[in-house]
């Protein structure tokens, strides 16, 4: 790799990392605002204009809280837990294509941190690791409620990972590629996967809720039954890291959903628009790419909003209902979806070729 490329990659990775953290920070603010609006309130509005400094105030508060480590806990693992959760949450945004390529000085610059031919599996693998932070933290607290929360998190994540993987397989069958850039590129214009995979999308959506431990599947931190769930014993910024990791996970899940089903950076009539703007292919391409990034983030923000919207609408499931939904409904549906997709592909090959 040339050194220019290396420098560019470094800058890009840092920018993506910063954006991820920024979005996660402001998700906490957005969550409170959305909750307030849905409940006919106006939410935080004292810290700065419209309460925009609220996340900073929250973080400041978190840092000044007492750092508490339970006496009989496993100290090393207790500290490791939130760190692992945060680390793994930050890892997954690396392969997401936030935009197509820019042409700067004749050089093609892809707006994606790392392009691997197994991008989707990478995301999937990182997501499946996400539960370790919760498990380690919950177990090391030496508290029964934390342990129960951790165990719930583990069983829930494993159960929903299956359905999620199966729903992704249908996408793979259609696109024939594991690379997220490839999948995004195939959905050019308005040819989004959601038109072909509505059932798969619903399954994926439900699983994404379960994987990120969001209501209605936030059983691991169910305060009505488990005090605080896996983070009962946590205080100060260690608690903050757990909560922060959840918001990063939401961001990543939204980005993956937008990429897989809603055409990533593609928007309708993008090529026509490009032709309209300028005759120079370089300028047209760059304008379209930048617009595409905006569109991508708009999609991501919509999904983040959707996560919050659902959180303040639906009550929590019971744990046996959750398991039943995962194993007895979503997995058979996902398998059905695979069969339908396969049939569809065969029919298409048969009749339209």
């Amino acid at each position: 790799m040339e050194s220019v490329d290396l420098i560019y990659k470094t800058i890009y990775i840092l920018v993506i990392f910063g954006i991820t953290l920024l979005i996660a920070t402001y998700s906490t603010y957005a969550e409170r605002k959305v909750a307030a609006f849905i409940q006919d309130r106006i939410g935080p509005n004292r810290a700065g204009p419209f309460g925009l400094l609220q996340p900073l105030a929250d973080a400041g508060k978190m840092f000044f809280k007492e750092e508490f480590i339970p006496a009989k806990s496993n100290k090393a693992l207790f500290i490791l837990g939130p760190g692992v959760a945060m680390l793994i949450a930050c890892m997954s945004s690396a392969v997401i294509p936030f935009g197509d390529m820019l042409i700067i000085g004749g050089r093609e610059v892809y707006l994606q941190a790392i392009e691997v031919n197994i991008g989707l599996l990478y995301v999937f693998g990182v997501v499946s690791l996400g539960v370790y932070g919760v498990m380690i933290g919950g177990w090391a607290s030496n508290n029964k409620f934390s342990l129960l929360g951790a165990i719930r998190a583990a069983s829930q994540n494993i159960s929903y990972e299956l359905a999620m993987g199966l729903s992704i397989i249908a996408i793979l069958m259609m696109t024939g590629s594991l690379s997220l850039r490839e999948i995004a590129a195939q959905q050019a214009g308005f040819n989004w996967n959601i038109w072909y995979q509505p059932l798969g999308f619903i399954i994926f959506l439900v699983c994404a809720f379960a994987e990120t431990n969001r209501t209605p599947f936030d059983l691991p931190e169910c305060e009505a039954e488990l005090v605080g769930g896996y983070h009962t014993e946590y205080s100060s910024m260690k608690l903050g890291l757990f909560l922060f990791a959840e918001y990063i996970n939401i961001f990543v899940a939204s980005a993956v959903m937008a990429t897989l089903y809603f055409g990533a950076y593609n928007f309708p009539f993008m090529h026509e628009l490009g032709a309209l703007i300028s005759d120079d292919p370089v300028i047209a391409n760059n304008v379209i790419t930048i617009l595409g990034v905006v569109v991508m983030f708009a999609k991501i923000f919509f999904f983040i909003f959707f996560f919050m919207w659902v959180r303040w609408t639906l009550p929590r499931f019971r744990f046996d209902q959750l398991m039943k939904l995962g194993w007895q409904i979503l997995i058979p549906l996902a398998i059905l979806n695979i069969i339908l997709t396969g049939g569809g592909i065969l029919l298409k090959d048969h009749f339209f070729n």
């Binding site: 609006f37 409940q39 006919d40 309130r41 106006i42 659902v310 609408t313």
Partner: protein, 169 residues
């Protein structure tokens, strides 16, 4: 049994329809309701800057009145304390000394007079009971939130109406 009214809803345990079992229509409906509220007018009142409109007969913080000449009206008869259902009022009576006539209207006066605002239920019975028209509940003041419990015990320093030197109301 015959129902008393015809308002009660008849409930029958029916087999759920497919739409109900699929759960998604109900979720969409719920999302619609929350979205409607999202754009509704907010009912928040920004408290310190704006206050909620109160009724004219609102019973708020107590005041111990003075008469036209600026003398305290209370004679420490204790009727208010007896009338108080929450036992929020305590007082110590004292005898007026010579030369204090401009301070207290009656010969006997309240040396201390305390209302515990944490106990008080703002019923206004003290106001009813007072023969000297000395204690009233104001309609424009409330006991503000504080950090310590003792700060809710209001003594004479905070209860007695300030001397009207300039105002003419």
């Amino acid at each position: 049994m015959e129902p008393l009214t015809n308002r009660s809803k008849k409930l029958a345990k029916k087999e759920m329809t497919f739409a109900e079992k699929a759960y998604l229509p109900a979720i969409a409906q719920g999302l619609g309701i929350t979205l409607k509220h999202f754009f509704k007018k907010k009912s928040t009142i920004q408290y310190p800057e704006e206050t909620r409109q109160r009724s004219d007969v609102w019973r708020g913080l107590h005041v111990l009145k003075r008469d036209e000449e600026g003398r305290e009206r209370c004679t420490a008869c204790g009727l208010c304390a007896v009338a108080c259902p929450a036992e929020a009022i305590t007082m110590v009576a004292g005898e007026r000394k010579v030369g204090e006539e401009h301070l207290y209207r009656e010969e006997k006066y309240a040396v201390t007079y305390e209302v515990n605002m944490l106990r008080c239920i703002f019923c206004g019975m003290c106001e009813e009971a007072c023969p000297k028209a000395a204690i009233f509940l104001q309609d424009d003041k409330i006991a503000p939130a504080r950090y310590e419990r003792d700060e809710f015990i209001y003594g004479k320093d905070r209860l007695v109406e300030p001397l009207k030197t300039t105002e003419t109301k």
